[in-house]
């Protein structure tokens, strides 16, 4: 007869689950509300989502407090791993989501926001990302990844345009391929080491001194390809511009930030030990990926005629820039990754929100797409404030001081310098100069060209409501005054990253 399984509730450490459970409860609650009374206004769901995200944020602050006192916490049969990386990335995920969800309160009516399911899926997706970053277990990573990705595909498709269906299907196909790669890679690691926990895998591999180096490399290749898709690294980036173009501008901005930080954290956990194991091949491959992603995406962005596609390539390039942190693999570079991503989320969400604010439902005849450069010609004459803010975001993305992203770039390049990657530091700097051109192109259109006839200022703010304006104002203030918050932010991030052993 089997012994009765005896697990004490305390050893489960249910506290570790609370930040993920909050959005799940929120999502279920939204569905329940809809069941009792359907046809409620979107404002209700937006506010409900914000409420739950605030609670989530509060729970995270609690976890952060525990981490500062006791260090890393494990829970749920050691499936959950709440370390500094998990907490930092969850802060970014939840924070960016809080900034994103008010963008649903547009002036014009859009199809997707009339469904309560949109908001339920949105919260499920956040929970998925949170699971993904706060575990060491490859299976739980996989579950989190798939939960969030499936929700995200649906959210894109709900925009209800031909292009958004195309985008969702494209993203789904690529995502399925990536998921296959991921499970295959994990499988090989399991076969090699008998474990699916990254720390265990690292210990076993180090103990037998990488005897099966061939198999390790195969596994790494699969995992790298899988995360290459998620992080849109060249040459796995091909979906990105199309998907960004097909989804709504707000959603595209969100996609450029939140899914990527989740993937970055997993990549960091996985590659941290591999980089330091001294496998030259892996270092070379990562080096090539980083340089290719930065440079090629920048060059493609140069020739785009559509602002949104330009921004899509630009965020691919930024992902490559940040991927350098994982290649360098020092505490400073890992902190730089988080600093960069926090500052990037402000700026990028701001610039995509500006596109979102100028969204037209019906295109006028002279415009080929909704975000062509022509649309923004002479904007300084017709909508000076909006043009100035847009220019601000562009300058920040280009890395012009003293705006937000400059400090991220500064710290990132500095980490390359201290890590001994001099050439990489130069490549990163020169790539910023190349990128300057396409950001400048939009500024040139806005400030130096004459407006297209029949284009009045109100189209740039046609979608504006108080909520959208406050989000953009918030992003703009964050972009300008980033240097004030820099010191506490940097100390906070560095202590969290350092105390988690990265």
């Amino acid at each position: 007869m089997l012994e009765p399984i005896n697990v004490s509730l305390e050893s489960l450490n249910l506290m570790t689950l609370s930040p993920m459970l909050i959005p799940i409860i929120g999502a279920l609650l939204i569905l329940v509300v809809d069941m009792f009374k359907s046809g409620l206004d979107k404002t209700l769901y937006v506010v409900l989502s914000i409420l739950f995200l605030i609670m989530d944020f509060g729970a995270l602050t609690g976890s952060a407090g525990i981490f500062m006192q006791d260090g890393t916490v494990m829970g749920m049969f050691d499936m959950m791993l709440i370390d500094g990386l998990a907490i930092l990335s969850q802060f970014i995920i939840v924070g960016a989501s809080m900034l994103f969800i008010p963008l649903a309160l547009t002036n014009k009516r859009f199809h997707e926001f009339s469904y309560p399911e949109f908001f339920a899926l949105f919260l499920f997706m956040i929970a998925g990302f949170q699971f993904m970053v706060s575990t060491d277990n490859l299976i739980l990573v996989f579950v989190g990844l798939e939960t969030s990705s499936l929700a995200l595909y649906t959210l894109i498709a709900m925009h209800n345009r031909t292009k958004s269906f195309e985008a969702a299907v494209k993203y789904f196909t690529m995502g399925a391929l990536a998921a296959g790669f991921f499970s295959f890679g994990s499988m090989i690691f399991y076969a090699l080491t008998g474990s699916i926990e990254i720390s265990q895998i690292a210990t076993v591999l180090a103990a037998n001194q990488y005897v099966d180096i061939g198999y390790v490399l195969v596994a790494v290749t699969f995992l790298l390809a899988s995360f290459g898709f998620k992080l849109s690294l060249v040459p796995f980036h091909t979906w990105a511009p199309d998907v960004y173009e097909g989804s709504s501008a707000a959603m595209a901005g969100y996609m450029s930030i939140v899914p990527k930080i989740a993937a970055f954290v997993v990549t960091m956990r996985l590659f941290e030990f591999l980089i330091h194991s001294g496998i030259v091949w892996l270092e070379m491959v990562l080096y090539i990926f980083v340089v290719l992603t930065m440079t090629m995406a920048n060059i493609w962005a140069l020739v785009q005629t559509d602002v949104k596609r330009m921004l899509a390539y630009s965020s691919v390039s930024h992902a490559g820039f940040v991927m350098a942190a994982i290649l360098i693999g020092t505490t400073q570079s890992n902190s730089a990754l988080f600093l960069y991503w926090i500052l990037f989320s402000f700026t990028n969400l701001g610039s995509f929100s500006m596109l979102w604010m100028s969204r037209q439902k019906h295109l006028p005849e002279h415009q080929s797409s909704d975000h062509s450069y022509d649309k923004f010609a002479g904007m300084i004459k017709t909508a000076p404030v909006a043009a100035s803010i847009m220019a601000l975001f562009m300058l920040s993305l280009a890395g012009l001081p003293p705006f937000a992203l400059f400090w991220g770039k500064l710290y990132m390049i500095s980490s390359a310098v201290t890590g001994g990657y001099t050439v990489l530091a130069l490549i990163m700097a020169l790539n910023s100069a190349i990128a300057g051109y396409y950001y400048l192109k939009l500024i040139v259109y806005m400030f130096m060209k004459e407006p297209v006839t029949g284009n009045e200022g109100h189209i740039y703010v046609s979608n504006a409501t108080l909520a959208l304006k406050s989000i953009i104002g918030f992003a703009a203030i964050g972009t300008i005054f980033a240097f004030v918050a820099l010191n506490p932010l940097l100390e906070f991030i560095t202590s969290f990253v350092y105390n988690s052993g990265y």
């Binding site: 001099t422 400048l440 040139v444």
Partner: protein, 517 residues
């Protein structure tokens, strides 16, 4: 107030610019002039409170910004930067005052005030990152001025200007990060403070690399010979005010940064690269002078002559002795005054005829005698006539470099004399001879608004040419301390001999004086 005078100088124009958005566009010019006058008065106040016997930094401010990464808001002024600050305030003031009718004048004046903030910031920052912030930020207003008010090729010119300088300064940024990292390795603490960097003695091979990285940023800004191609476009397309500020102040950022960063931080590398840089400078002097002679557009003549004289400044800077560096700083001011005035003068004729082609003119001396007089004076100054402001600077620069190399100095000297040819030829084409175009017969002479800008410049040109001491003395004091620092820091024999030891020579003169008694 005097403790924070530098912060006030930097942020007063910025604040004024932000508030300027509220002012009606018909009244904005008066507002701009008022702000310009206040700023200039503040800069004069700075000058008069400045103790010219002190060689180090004065009016320093220190606010921690990112302590864990060693970024602090540090400001300070010494004899090297003081007069460039005054010059920047002065040129913004007369630039706004003499602004001719432009479209969107409100945007123009607000942009100019922002530009003034960045200029003040660059010349008073004593922290690498703060310096870099203002250095880069100065590109944006200039981009807008050239791109929005320029000629037909304005967009190409402005983007080229921006990208060129942006790319160069990013390489410089990497150099700065290395510098901070070496400081961290030496002391265990991050610091971007320039005065901290001065204390760091680096091995020669590292100095060479870092010198090259900083050189990229500075040389593009100056612009030095192979990197100069953005400048003719920028000058050719920019509106008058843009060219004036660009030539008078913005280009000085590069030469100033050589003296502030490259020389004291990398003395051995500076000596190592002395001759390559000097040769580049001489190529710059000769080559651009030849191009200037071939120009048909008078503004391009002035633009190329401006580049040519920047070569002399570089030559003086890399003389590595007190005469040369003091001379080059003095020449920066002189060049600012003279080339700024020349661009203003070109603007005067352009407003009347809407062309800058020299063959459209001729015999202007008959119809515009006052204009011809001032133009003649400025041209003489530009050529380097004795008793004008340029002569003092050029003479000292060449005198300084003569101690390093006779032949190169001789070449540069001849090139300057040859440089007189194109200026005189241009003057002859425009002002002498018969009036060949009927439109020119009834041109009005310079009016009051233009005189407001031109007369003070003419007075300065002659006054400082005859009596340069009030400016030269504080410059000399600060330069002496920098040269001494370079001598003490240098590690190679070559550098020790090339950079004079001022303490020793002072001792010798003292002891010989005692013997005489």
């Amino acid at each position: 107030m005097i403790d924070h005078i530098l912060s006030i100088l930097i942020f007063f124009p910025a604040l004024a610019a932000v508030l300027g958005f509220m002012i009606h566009k018909d009244s904005i010019r008066a507002y701009g002039v008022t702000v310009g006058i206040i700023e200039f008065a503040l800069s004069l106040y700075l000058w008069f409170s400045f103790d010219s016997n002190v060689s180090g930094m004065q009016f320093m401010e220190h606010i921690p910004l990112v302590t864990s990464f060693g970024i602090n808001y540090i400001l300070g002024v010494d004899g090297i930067s003081l007069f460039i600050l005054v010059l920047a305030a002065f040129f913004t003031m007369i630039g706004i005052a003499s602004l001719t009718d432009t479209k969107n004048v409100k945007n123009m004046i607000i942009t100019l005030l922002f530009l003034q903030m960045t200029m003040m910031g660059v010349f008073s920052a004593l922290d690498g990152i703060i310096f870099y912030v203002f250095w880069e930020l100065s590109l944006v207003p200039m981009l807008y001025i050239i791109g929005a008010w320029g000629g037909p090729l304005r967009i190409y010119a402005s983007v080229k200007f921006f990208l060129y300088t942006f790319a160069g300064s990013l390489v410089m940024l990497v150099g700065m990060l290395f510098m901070a990292y070496f400081y961290y390795q030496a002391t265990g603490q991050w610091s971007f403070a320039i005065l901290d960097w001065y204390r760091l003695i680096l091995p020669e091979n590292i100095q060479l690399w870092l010198f090259a990285a900083f050189f990229m940023g500075f040389a593009i800004k100056v612009p030095m010979f192979p990197f100069h191609t953005w400048l003719p476009y920028a000058h050719g397309q920019a509106p008058t005010i843009g060219s004036v500020i660009l030539a008078a102040i913005l280009l000085k950022m590069g030469t100033y940064a050589f003296i502030r960063f490259s020389l004291p931080m990398f003395p051995d590398a500076s000596v190592y690269f002395m001759f390559p840089v000097a040769i580049l400078a001489i190529i710059m002097i000769v080559y651009t002078a030849m191009i200037a002679y071939a120009q048909k557009d008078v503004k391009q003549v002035v633009a190329y002559s401006s580049v040519s004289h920047m070569g002399v400044i570089i030559l003086g800077t890399f003389a590595m002795n007190v005469e040369g560096i003091s001379g080059s700083i003095f020449l920066m001011i002189a060049h600012g005054v003279v080339s700024g005035a020349l661009f203003l003068l070109v603007g005067v004729i352009y407003d009347r005829r809407h062309t800058k082609m020299m063959d459209q003119f001729g015999g202007l001396a008959h119809v515009m005698p006052r204009y011809a007089t001032i133009f003649g004076l400025m041209m003489m100054a530009s050529v380097g006539m004795p008793l004008t402001i340029n002569f003092v600077g050029e003479f000292l620069s060449l005198l300084g470099f003569y101690q390093q190399s006779h032949i190169l100095t001789l070449l540069a000297g001849i090139a300057i004399i040859v440089g007189a040819i194109y200026m005189l030829a241009a003057y002859k084409k425009m002002f002498f001879g018969e009036i060949t175009h009927e439109e020119n017969r009834n041109l009005p002479d310079v009016n009051k608004r233009e005189l407001v800008a031109l007369l003070p410049l003419a007075v300065i040109t002659i006054w400082l040419g005859i009596y340069p001491k009030p400016i030269l003395e504080p410059i000399n004091n600060s330069v002496e301390s920098i040269v001494q620092l370079m001598h003490d820091k240098s590690i190679t024999e070559e550098a020790k001999t090339r950079i004079p030891n001022l303490v020793k020579s002072a001792e010798i003169t003292n002891s010989s004086a005692e013997e005489a008694h």
